[in-house]
Amino acid sequence: MEIVNKNAALLSNFEVFTLLKETKEKSAQKLIKKKNLDPNNSNFSTNVDKHLPTVVYESLKYLEKTPCVKQSAETVNNFLTQLDEKFKEYNLTKVEKLQLLNHRPSSAVELQCLIEDSEERFTIEQMDNLLEFVHLFDGKTFFTIFNQRLKFNCT
């Protein structure tokens, strides 16, 4: 076995979650096919591998409790592009953006943990803006949420 590229890409929890669901589907389909082709085969269970189903099941069980369950390819894309647009001057690293996507922090303390040296890099107001965006983002544009806030302030 040869490792060609140790770190070809970083994956978000959402991508792994999607992949694992597909893998589970494929295995279920293969099992059904096997049973249909040879229903009387007594050797059926001897070659069943337990490692892949175990890790898939446990990983899905873990990921189902994270925010990635509610994400879709579109929302992830929107989130990252808007993070780049609205918060360009923040200079967030790739890893920090990934952690924001995976955790979706809901409090300032959580945000401070995820972002390195946040007290030195940003003011409290900047942190609040970032927190609001990350926590409230639900696939819609930030502009819509901002507009709603304006409406509340005006009335």
């Binding site: 994956l11 490692h51 892949l52 898939v56 303390v109 943990c113």
Partner: protein, 209 residues
């Protein structure tokens, strides 16, 4: 938390799988070989991501199976240093607490990396963070089964490939008891050391607004 690694390996396809589609067989064989296993200095292999290239298959003399070199990408679990993760407290002892993500169990937070000041309750075998609010000191227990947020401080890989039986010259020096002891030592191939010594880390319900 997860990364993609590109690898090249030879897949042996047994003759009784020749009637099946080669792609399916290769996928199954790769998952059978790597899933849920730790590769030294790489991480825990989770699942096959995709196959990039399948090279020509060869048949070797005296062996009916075909050997195919495959270039593929695999999803590897390997948290980065200083990454934040959320897990469940599995058990605790005087040395520290053990945390588990359901698919990965070997995460250890040594007592030195707990929120200070703390004390260890011998009767319940649990750690307590003595949180001082100014007026009073609250005893916050680190209970088993609770969700906990921690930072990855370091990782350690141990090569667990078998080393074979002890050499003849060593047998005379080794007593029976020491040989038996070596067998009982279960070495952990991939272990993560964590820390909760920061505001925001520790049990989730400590910081819930």
């Amino acid at each position: 938390m997860y990364m993609l690694t590109e690898m090249k390996d030879v897949v042996h396809v047994k003759p009784w799988y020749f009637e099946q589609d080669l792609l399916n067989v290769i996928e199954d064989e790769l998952n059978k070989k790597f899933a849920n296993k730790v590769i030294f200095q790489l991480g825990l292999c989770v699942a096959l991501f995709d196959i990039k290239e399948i090279f020509n298959s060869t048949v070797l003399p005296g062996d009916g199976s075909s050997h195919t070199k495959v270039l593929f990408r695999y999803v590897i679990f390997r948290p980065l240093i200083d990454e934040i993760l959320v897990g469940k407290v599995k058990s605790s002892s005087r040395e520290g607490i053990y945390i588990s993500l359901s698919f990965f169990d070997d995460i250890f937070v040594p007592s030195a990396n707990l929120q200070k000041p703390f004390r260890f309750d011998e009767k319940e075998q649990l750690f307590i963070w003595q949180y001082d609010t100014g007026d009073s000191v609250h005893d916050l227990y680190i209970d088993i089964g609770e969700e906990i947020r921690f930072r990855v401080v370091s990782e350690s890989f141990i090569d667990t490939t078998p080393i074979g039986p002890p050499k003849k010259s060593d047998i005379n020096n080794l007593s029976i008891s020491s040989v038996v002891q070596n067998k009982d030592e279960i070495k952990c191939p991939y272990m993560i050391i964590g820390s909760i010594n920061e505001p925001g880390l520790g049990l989730l319900n400590w910081w819930r607004v």
